[in-house]
Subunit: 545 residues, 2 copies
């Protein structure tokens, strides 16, 4: 950093000379302005490096400031309107989770580095580490699943059977596409069922929870793509994929929702060394989609049913489909053999929900999402929101933390199945439907207004009486506020009622009450009430809102 | 790290020889055990470094595992019972905040490093930095106030007047005392009012909000210590403290709630070079406590009222006390001249709430909180919970981010006043009052139980009907669960109602409903209902709970 400062100081000097020379030569204003802009940029960078940004710079003519005020790359602030939508999303989802008996836990934002290592395959490079400031090596959590498995491994004796949800932020040093809800800091909403149960029962309830949550969020039509790791592995085996190439080939298949078959085949054969005829056999399977009909078809495939893994997977699916029928959500499923999911730790069914609004704009065959010129930010017009929820069964993750006995078996084996709702994507779909000015972010019910003299203490006294009656009330923090300022504040904040006080009314023990939502001129300055009846009348009116 | 591995491998070998030798010599068991423990420790450290902790170790006799499963130092998991209490605390506080018209915002967990630098004085050393992985230098937020000021500086045009609350985690690399709610990762609940208003009006409302919140939390009797930076600075000036020593002397005064006057005086004179007679004059002032009476007394102190800063502060206090009288909270205040608050950015009134349960156990004169032997953890029996909320007015913090004009004035000046509730401390007080087994962490209302045959799909169907009626329902995830297991699950989860189905009842279109809270034997196996009436009956019963 010190080197960069020296370099910058020198560049600033050179650039300064250049500007002075242009001015001396009487160059065109636009030419001068362009060079001045460069100069300002250099000065700004230096100020940030020196930590003097924002300090007085009264000596130089440049004046003003050069502090870069921003949040870190890939992160953002949520203002009051964003938060109003966000809280509605969270409470909608939480309500569904609680309806299904879930409780919540919380884990630290950072974990010991070794807890996260070896869990995310290639994506481990996206993990944020904390600086070594003496003490333990830590990393920001990458998802909520691994911390949950760590929690179960630590507390598994008490939590053998556990339905938990967790809504919290996770961190990935990924390429951001902010308006599509792809960020470096983002919320996940996870619901998981841990415990040894009879087959496919918790799996079916998780899918029911997912469908209820997406329906409650009112995102429009959605589909849940569903597949089974054991069916997929069986397909790879019968097609002739060598065992140690199964996960890499599975990763390639996972890209079929973004890339055409030809590109995926190329990855399988050229990059991953698969024989082309094996790839073609896989291609025949993974293009299949359907429902019960597809399951029937696969059951008639003697080669597949002769494979142990595939036949176990097919039996699971048949049972699951029965349960989904009972739960009334079978018509929302799409049994899709191209669904593979990236993460290594899945062991059973896997699924992914998409809405019509998740799809990326159509790209020409073979083209990929673009980055903006000169930056590493994605051009957001070329990417879609993607899947809005995903999950699956992971029976071995807790065992990875529990240690093993002499036979090499995990000390504690807690099978799990879960789903994660990508709430930032949901949020970006919902924000697109709303106009900012229509969102009421406060919950204030009554504004206390004085006519004539300021009556500050009297307004305070009224506000206190309202607060004590659990009525949400505000007033303007001025000694003698103008009447129009008070009306304006009340309207800007969408506050439904105004209590109006004047000296005369107060002396008679009266107040006036006005319904601010009604443009009805007949109510004029509002109705006059005995002050003693104010709370009762307001409570009655608020109840019928 | 590689070096440490080599070192460890060598040490393990040496320690192994030592153990074998002791055994060969027929040494005492306790002696051998001690050396074996050292050996295990070394192996454990190596396993962690190599990331093989938790892997099979079937070769060696040591067997089992050596993975250290824990959360990072100073952090903890919150289980479902903790979270039930926590959510109650948050919703209680949020309700008060919303009653006063506040909206909420959210900011990233980490900020650019330069945003935090120069804001916390000595405590800056406690800031967590992120590792430099290419890109910007970032740090975890230390409080919610500085990010709020940064937000206002970025968005101040839209948010000139703003009542916001923010409940979120902050991070400090401090000495933890976990059971007292002093942690490295902890929640803060902040409420702040930003904007240019008439004097002391928002200040009074903040104090009212604080008192309402603490009352609603039901923490027992509490007191709000209150003082004014300008009065304090005036005292220092009239006592003869040189201007550049005012903040350091103020920091010393701030320790008076933990240390006796003699120790504080020693810090002022020996460490900070103040003349002993000046310290004694300060001592006379800062021992004063009271209410209106103290204010009257100070107004009669001609030396003090002759000081500009002190006289402004006293005028503010007089006005504030009038407002607090109207708001009905003056009797909860203790005007305390020893209250100084550590942070530099306060410019007006400052305050701190304490409860009887905040106090540390009495320590012998001159002793300090101890650390546990051989560690740097505080011995928690020697420390108190401390203040449970604190805050003050900070008029210049936003300006520090806004840059300055040619005259050296901030481009944007937004005065603020706020309070932060130390919810971890509140939480530790509340947890101490509760028995874990009495806390119902789920909200499930109905458990669906089968008598006789498993009736899995029939239980699923009933659960689905309940969910669709917005009734919170669960059932056991087994094909043929035993009846006693189902009763046990229902009781363990404190679920108030059971819907019981059997083949006979189902064939007749009936179900049985049992109130699980009532030990009334008369209800026997519950009441028999038409299945079509199940939802209606449950809704009615749930409404009267």
């Amino acid at each position: 950093m010190a080197d960069r400062k020296v370099e910058l100081t020198q560049k600033i000097e050179e650039q300064g000379s250049k500007v002075r020379q242009l001015k001396a030569e009487g160059a065109e204003k636009t030419a001068i302005d362009a060079e001045v802009a460069v100069l300002k940029g250099l000065k700004q960078e230096l100020a940030v490096l020196e930590g003097t940004a924002g300090e007085t710079k009264s000596k130089g003519k440049a004046g003003k400031t050069s502090f870069v005020l921003k949040t870190p790359k890939g992160t953002k602030d949520y203002n009051d309107k964003d938060m109003a939508i966000r809280e509605k999303v969270f409470s909608t989802i939480t309500k569904v989770f609680k309806k299904h008996g879930a409780v919540t836990i919380d884990t630290p934002v950072f974990e010991l580095k070794e807890i996260l290592s070896g869990k995310y395959g290639e994506d481990s490079k996206l993990i944020y580490d904390l600086k070594d400031q003496g003490g333990e090596e830590c990393s920001l959590r990458y998802d909520l699943t691994v911390p949950f498995a760590r929690f179960l491994a630590m507390n598994g004796k008490e939590y053998q059977n556990f339905k938990r949800y967790h809504i919290a932020k996770v961190y990935r040093r990924d390429q951001p596409a902010m308006t599509k809800g792809r960020m470096r800091e983002f919320y996940q909403c996870d619901f998981d069922i841990a415990g040894v149960y009879d087959p496919m029962i918790p799996d079916a309830e998780i899918l029911r929870v997912l469908c209820e949550a997406l329906t409650a969020l009112d995102l429009g039509k959605f589909t849940v793509k569903i597949n089974h790791r054991k069916i997929l592995d069986g397909i790879f085996e019968v097609c002739g994929v060598p065992e140690d190439n199964i996960r890499p080939i599975s990763s390639a298949v996972d890209k079929l929702d973004k890339l055409p078959w030809e590109d995926v085949k190329k990855e399988m054969t050229e990059e991953k060394g698969l024989a082309p005829e094996v790839a073609d056999k896989i291609g025949e399977y993974v293009k299949l989609k359907g429902g019960r009909d597809l399951l029937e078809k696969l059951f008639k495939d003697a080669i597949l049913t002769g494979n142990k893994s595939a036949s176990e997977g097919l039996a699971d699916m048949a049972l699951l489909f029965d349960f989904l029928e009972v739960f009334g959500i079978m018509d929302l499923m799409s049994f899709d053999l191209s669904l593979a999911r990236g993460l290594d730790y899945y062991t059973g069914i896997i699924y992914e929900a998409v809405t019509e609004k998740s799809a990326p704009p159509k790209l020409a065959e073979g083209t990929k999402p673009k980055t903006k010129e000169g930056t590493d930010e994605l051009d957001e017009s070329t990417v879609g929101v993607g899947s809005i929820a995903a999950g699956g069964r992971y029976d071995n993750l807790v065992g990875m933390f529990s240690g093993r006995n002499k036979k090499g078996e995990p000390n504690l084996k807690i099978p799990c199945v879960g789903v994660s709702i990508g709430v930032e994507r949901v949020f970006s779909i919902l924000m697109a439907k709303q106009k900012a000015e229509d969102i009421k972010s406060n919950e204030t019910e009554v504004y206390v207004i004085a006519v004539g003299d300021g009556l500050l203490k009297e307004r305070m006294q009224i506000a206190k009486e309202l607060w004590e009656a659990d009525i949400k009330a505000s007033f303007l923090f001025k000694n003698k506020p103008k009447l129009d300022k008070q009306w304006a504040a009340c309207e800007k904040e969408h506050i439904p009622f105004a209590v109006i006080i004047g000296r005369d009314e107060l002396d008679k023990g009266e107040i006036r009450l006005k319904d601010m939502r009604s443009k009805n001129e007949a109510q004029g300055g509002g109705v006059t009430l005995q002050r003693a009846d104010m709370v009762k009348e307001l409570k009655a009116r608020l109840q019928t809102m």
